[in-house]
Amino acid sequence: MRRRARLASALLVFTGLPAQQSAPQDQGAAFYDRAGLAEAQRGNWGGALANFQKAIQLAPEFAEAHYHLAVVYARLGDRAQAFKACQQALRLRPDYPEALYMFAGSCHEAGDAEGAATILKALVERLPDFSEARYNLALALKDAKQLEAAAEQLRAAAALEPRNPKYRIALGILLAEQQRTEEAIEALGEAAQLEPANPEAHYNLGVALAAAGRTAEAGKHFREAIRLKPGHAAARRGLGLSLLHEGALAASEAELRQAAAVAPQDPDNWNNLGMVHLRQRRFDDAIEVLQRAVSLNPRFIKAWSNLAQAYQRAGRVAEARRAAERVRGLLAEQRNLGRAMILTQTAAQRLESGDTRTAIAQLREAIAASPGFADPYAELGKALMRVAPKSEEPVGLLRRAAELDPGKAEIRYALGRALLQRGRASEALTELQGALRLRPCWAQARRLLAEVHAKLGQAEAARSEQQLAKALEAAAVSGAR
């Protein structure tokens, strides 16, 4: 995520996008803006910041200066201020491509892949040769589970910049995840040829080759990735696992141990070592590393089950049984969660088709099956808002959902709406602001937030949100075209 934001900022600054700067009425503001750009070109970010701030002081409606300020903040690592300045640029100039691009990056970084994709689609339509935008669009589409569309963008980016291996690496990873192994190998092989010193190309090619059963070739590329970047823990892990599957236990152990040394907080590394020790029949060693794996992640089913095995083989039967019980408990939770998920999905469909009674029953069943799962509380809250609009139960359910999954913007939005309907605008404000922190590109939520601001008599804030919503909606319409 951080990498994506950095990337976006770097691209925006002074390369890539065509300049579309419009001169402000205030000549002084224009002067400071130009001075800021000059400082930025020299890498003097502090000086640039001061100049852009002066430009804005003289001409608060100067969209470009706000955007430039945002870029500088991003360069200085102040993401909150960067985002704020970027929003301001967009409010002032809703069709501002650079600001939209940056805003999309922020949305994606916040987890709003769909929102980011919508904006980036619009940009790609306007600027079809902008390969980095296609790349970032592909990443957003991938996170939004639109895999085919993501691959299409990566292919287009690779065609635009055939010498850049990055697009082929991303394409290869995407194809491998779709189990299109041979295509993945082709793309990653091209990337490795384009840039033989790129450890990521070799590492990912190794993974794809391993997935095709070509373990010897995979090992070669893992080794090359390690040679290029000795601290490449993932490559060491890949090599270690390949060696484990080939039965080369000592060599596997050596690689996996190094991977664990590089990334000791990753429980997978300790679990992998545990697997090797189990094969080596070094049960006490296996117990030691597997205990470490489960202490790092107490819900790590595979490590618990390996630990049960290790205890059993070491003759520690009572501990083996306890570890096995832990596995069973975790599996039961997993199963109940799976059932609750599908019940919730089915109920949502029933709600759409008007079968509210059955949907409510299914949602209650889902809650009973997995009480720690937020979605059925939220869906039930929404359903009850329809059938019992004055009841307090929906608010309670939505609050519970938000507590269980504070990272879900849709829940905060629904809660905000429920509160607004009950005239509790101040509480609604908090929830909607929370929702927008999670999904900054969500125009509908911005509209509702504007409504809340208006109810609270905050006219300026309401107008500001309306403007931003309008910019986002315009981008969405353009992207849909």
Partner: protein, 576 residues
């Protein structure tokens, strides 16, 4: 780095793959030819496929070898499904019994035999002489109920389900097995049950795009515990699931095998569960069982993978005298070989001795440790076929119909031999049950396969009898007549084989009741020792190879208890 994180996920979760076949290894010239049509077996399974994607549509139907007319040739029973609320076939669906004419052809005798199981959405099938009258009876497991067909001895069967009390009503029986868990000389019935799916609780799964609706994962429903019916000796059974402990834990059960895992003389039960832990129930010898799958190392795979257990078989593949296990799983998982380490449990030998990742893109169901080339080492036959009929939409490299895979055992290591065995193996099918038997009595093991929504296959083994063999037909007296649970030790040329007459095996299938030993080029069998479930012991010495030998408990070798076999093989038969 983002790229690194993603790709690492692939390696650890998807693993390495191949279903291209290994380079040919030197070995015997054996072919499996599909002779079903030629033999008159026209059965086509109907899986009642519907747009509602009922889970029962995925399971296939069973296959069983049963010598129902006791003429010495094994007949074939194939299980079918039934109409559902979403599928109304023009004609009622029927299971089928094909009588083996003894000349390579079969005749459909379903209706006169009375075993059509019409209206039953059938699943697995088990064959056993539960009343010790010398005639093989049938139990057909199914969705919502099962049927017990008692062999009347006149070419007909009677449905005695209600009288016997083995309907297994309200449960979704998948596979079944006969075994004598309490060693009282009577076969008991074990049914492995799946999940609580019903039309009423059917769900929409998969993507909401045309053509993408998919069958739901079984974990979307509640698992069902297995059922154990104790044979009371008067034609009735008592459900002892709860009292015995067998019914204590729900699991999405699909495969079952009864065998004595710790060789303490008491039959234990293994259940292959789909996406839940497998169960190994150790028989305490007092009518109760203790579930020890996790501590015995067979509840899940190496690295703790909980996989979609389908079929299971047991056999001593490395000839160390201990019973090993092989379990088939769905694609993106591994078929697992569990080696008995002789200290009360198992270790996962999938990579050390087994197929490793080679079956990663295949969905295995029916499976058998069979010595197809009679070289003295148990090979592996795996029938494959995906669950989702639209899997290509989700995984472009995966297909619904898949080839079978056969691994030749080269002194304890499995080598892919699929490409050498002919079209009968290579032709992609949506295979489910695989039942193993020497139906043509030529000394090598053939395979019947029931394919989901497709024609059944009869894969005749041509060439397996170039090596020598011996088959043992065991007849219990104090023990159950089928001798399920008997353990046999055989010595030839100074080497030893150990085998057990187990109940169940494979997936929804029943097999040749004779114990089959491949002997390579060995000309004589020095000694055969049979340890009967009753505790009795019989020893026979000095047997010639290439024959069926009948042994009666307490009486030793006896004239064959079934009519004279008409061997097609050119090999001499010096049997009685």
């Amino acid at each position: 780095m983002r790229a690194a994180a993603i790709a690492l996920g692939i390696l650890s979760s998807l693993g390495m793959v191949l279903w291209s076949v290994s380079p040919p290894e030197p070995g015997p010239t054996v072919r499996f030819a599909d002779v079903a049509a030629r033999a008159g077996i026209t059965f086509r399974h109907d899986n009642a496929a519907s747009p509602e994607k009922y889970l029962i549509e995925t399971m296939g139907g069973g296959a069983a070898w049963i010598d129902y007319d006791a003429d010495g040739f094994l007949d074939l029973y194939l299980v079918n499904s039934a109409a559902t609320e979403a599928y109304r076939p023009a004609r009622p669906l029927r299971s089928a019994l094909y009588r083996n004419n003894g000349d390579g052809t079969f005749t459909d005798v379903t209706l006169p035999a009375g075993v059509a199981a019409e209206g039953l959405f059938g699943m697995g099938v088990a064959v056993g002489d539960y009343d010790n009258d010398g005639l093989a009876d049938l139990y057909v497991a199914g969705y919502g109920k099962g049927i017990l067909y008692h062999n009347e001895g006149n070419g007909r069967f009677a449905d005695l389900t209600a009288k016997a009390g083995v309907a297994n009503a309200g449960k979704w029986g998948s596979s079944a097995a006969w075994c004598d868990y309490d060693r009282d000389g009577r076969l008991d019935l074990v049914i492995v049950n799946y999940v609580d799916w019903s039309v009423a609780n059917n769900l929409y799964c998969g993507e909401r795009r045309p053509g993408y609706r998919a069958y739901c994962h079984p974990n979307k429903f509640r698992g069902q515990a297995p059922t154990l019916f104790r044979n009371q000796g008067d034609g009735t059974f008592k459900d002892v699931s709860a009292a015995s402990g067998i019914g204590s834990k729900p699991g999405n059960g699909l495969g079952v095998v009864c065998f004595d895992y710790d060789q303490d003389g008491w039959t234990d039960l293994f259940f292959a569960n789909d996406s839940t832990e497998n169960f190994l129930y150790r028989n305490r010898g007092d009518g109760t069982f203790e579930e020890i799958g996790a501590v015995a190392g067979v509840a899940w795979g190496e690295n703790g993978e909980i996989e979609a257990g389908m079929g299971v078989d047991v056999g001593d593949y490395n000839r160390d005298g201990w019973p090993d296990l092989f379990i088939t799983h769905l694609d993106l998982e591994l078929n697992r070989l569990y080696r008995h380490h002789g200290k009360g449990g198992y270790e996962d030998a999938t990579f050390r001795d087994g197929p490793g990742y080679q079956t990663f893109h295949l969905s295995g169901f029916g499976v058998g440790f069979i010595d197809f080339d009679n070289d003295g080492w148990l090979d592996l036959f795996i029938a494959n076929g995906h669950i989702l009929d639209n899997i290509h939409l989700y995984h472009p490299n995966t297909t619904y119909a898949e080839p079978k895979f056969v691994y030749r055992n080269v002194e304890g290591k499995f080598v892919n031999f699929t490409s050498r065995l002919g079209d009968g193996v290579l032709r992609p099918r949506v295979s489910r049950a695989a039942a193993f038997a020497d139906y043509d009595n030529d000394g090598d093991l053939d395979v019947a396969v029931n394919n989901n929504g497709q024609e059944a296959e009869l894969l005749r083994n041509d060439g397996g009898n170039r090596n020598h063999w011996l088959q043992l037909h065991l007849i219990g007296t104090r023990s159950n007549r089928d001798a399920v649970g008997a353990r046999v030790l055989l010595w030839a040329d100074g080497q030893r084989w150990v085998a057990e007459k187990v109940g169940g095996r494979s997936y929804q299938a029943a097999h040749d009741p004779r114990l089959h030993f491949g002997l390579g080029k060995r000309e004589t069998v020095e000694r055969v020792e049979i340890l009967w479930p009753s505790g009795a012991r019989d020893v026979i010495e000095g047997l010639r190879v290439n024959q069926v030998v009948a042994v009666k408990e307490g009486a030793g070798r006896v004239p064959v208890a079934v009519p004279q076999l008409r061997l097609r093989s050119a090999k001499a038969d010096d049997g009685p």
